[in-house]
């Protein structure tokens, strides 16, 4: 078996798949090693599908906006898989004056960076989405936000990259990275040793253990989050929704089902049995959150709920960076639960860093060595 490639990517999530695709387009040979048995088995296929700018940390805005302008609208055609990208805006809802304060702060912060986002009142909210409860008194509204299908987007990048000759190997957890003569070169798994000129670690929270072998640590924690999906319902609305207090977020998919995520507040402390098992509280809590804003969905039936881990970075934005002190190493992880919408842009730009050294979008905010003590 061919065990060497110009670039070895560790992690077959949307970042790994998309980076592989953008590198393959540049005729660079790539091997992708995925630890689990399935492509896109982490957050990539467990998230709520938001492709959103509003509410983001200003440091992320240039990248995500660039991706929304230049990549997302063309992905379905480019990949030959319907990624169900819909750009019909994002409503972040509020019911109390305190909510409105939170929303106002987020809006001001984004607007200051030039994003088209504004506060609207309850009636304006219901003009955009008539199904929302009368209790909603205001929202932030960003018309250029949207949503897509994380499953087909991730697998679409995989499919296309594979077509271009990228080698994907699943069930291949990385045990160790090894330098040869001062340069990162070998990737050791339980089956084989792979060799590459450049190595991108894009393995979510697991990246932390993997880069430890070469003395690099990204401060992250794994936080278990939960989502659910309803049966297909008649068409109701197209916006992406969220709330000031993050009770829930989600959208109606092209298929008609509603995909929602939510939080119980216990996420950081959730335990697991190694199977990413749902908690007994999550789905019920999310349903209460949804019904509070969306009484019309009370009778919608939940057909499936699931859990997954986010790789929460210390400062809540990702690390997408070359690691110069370990020649050959690149890292893209710590996306902190909002990595899906930004993924194509991030992958495109890290592929540029790997291949040419310079990205289209300034990525200095995502450097691996930015973390400092507070005093």
């Amino acid at each position: 078996m061919q065990n060497t490639a110009q670039v070895i990517i560790i992690g077959g999530g949307i970042i790994g798949c998309a980076t592989a695709y953008y590198l393959a387009k540049k005729a660079i040979s790539v091997i992708v090693l995925e630890g689990s048995d399935h492509i896109g088995n982490g957050g990539s296929s467990r998230n709520g599908g938001g492709v959103r700018q509003s509410g983001r940390d200003p440091r992320e805005l240039p990248m995500v906006t660039w991706g929304i302008k230049n990549l997302w609208p063309y992905l379905t055609e480019e990949l030959g898989v319907d990624v169900e990208y819909t750009q019909k805006g994002n409503l972040r809802l509020g019911k109390t004056p305190n909510h409105l304060n939170i929303l106002q702060r987020l809006t001001d912060r984004s607007a200051a960076c030039g994003l088209d986002v504004k506060m609207i009142d309850g009636d304006e909210v219901r003009q955009i989405n008539p199904y929302l409860s009368k209790e909603v008194i205001g929202a932030s509204w960003c018309p250029t936000d949207g949503h897509a299908n994380p499953l087909t987007a991730t697998l679409g990048f995989y499919k296309k990259a594979r077509e271009l000759g990228v080698r994907f190997i699943t069930g291949e957890p990385v045990i160790e990275l090894k330098k040869v003569k001062g340069k990162l070169r070998k990737i050791i798994t339980s089956h084989y040793t792979y060799e590459g000129e450049q190595v991108l670690v894009a393995a979510g929270y697991e990246s932390r253990a993997i880069t430890a072998a070469v003395g690099i640590d990204i401060p992250m924690q794994a936080v278990k989050m939960e989502c659910l999906v309803t049966e297909a319902e008649p068409y109701m609305f197209e916006q992406m929704l969220g709330t000031a207090e993050a009770d829930f977020y989600g959208h109606q998919s092209k298929h008609g089902s509603f995909v929602f995520g939510g939080s119980t507040g216990l996420e950081t402390y959730n335990k697991d049995n190694g199977k990413q098992i749902s908690t007994s509280l999550g789905a019920s809590c999310t349903c209460r959150g949804i019904i509070g804003y969306f009484p019309a969905l009370s009778d919608a039936k939940i057909v499936r709920a699931w859990a997954g881990y986010i790789d929460e970075c210390a400062d809540k934005i990702p690390v997408i960076s070359q690691v110069e002190e370990v020649p050959g190493l690149y890292v893209a992880c710590g996306f902190t639960g909002h990595g899906f919408g930004i993924a194509p842009g991030a992958a495109y730009n890290i592929a540029e860093i790997i291949s040419e050294g310079t990205p289209t979008v300034d990525m200095r905010a995502f450097r691996y060595d930015r973390f400092q003590a507070k005093i």
Partner: protein, 107 residues
């Protein structure tokens, strides 16, 4: 389809009181508490819904609430598993087209 009046092993089926309900506006009688699908079956109704993509008819398939093929619009709510939902007086049962009672929702 006929109801079994007397069974060689089970004798006469135990049924509750009769109730009236409507199927697509037409009044039908059934027994209270029996699955809606059974009352429809006894009345000769075979088609419970038409599917979303192909507009194909579906009816009872597993009869125990697992396959979800027999879903209909019941009292205005779509996707009700009629094989496990008890019949009640005055229920409004409608053929389901895709996910609603309106034919134009079939794409």
């Amino acid at each position: 389809m006929e109801r079994i009046r007397e069974h060689p092993i089970l004798g006469e089926p135990e049924k509750g009181k009769t109730v009236k309900f409507t199927f697509d506006g037409k009044e039908i009688e059934g027994y209270e508490g029996e699955p809606i699908a059974v009352a429809l079956k006894a009345a000769g109704v075979m088609v419970h819904r038409y599917t979303k993509k192909e507009h194909k008819p579906r009816g009872i398939f597993c009869a125990i609430g697992r396959c979800t093929d027999c879903v209909m619009v019941v009292d205005g709510k779509p996707n009700i598993r009629t094989c496990v939902t008890p019949l009640a007086e005055g229920m409004k049962v409608q053929t389901q087209y895709a996910v609603s009672a309106k034919e134009d929702h079939v794409s």
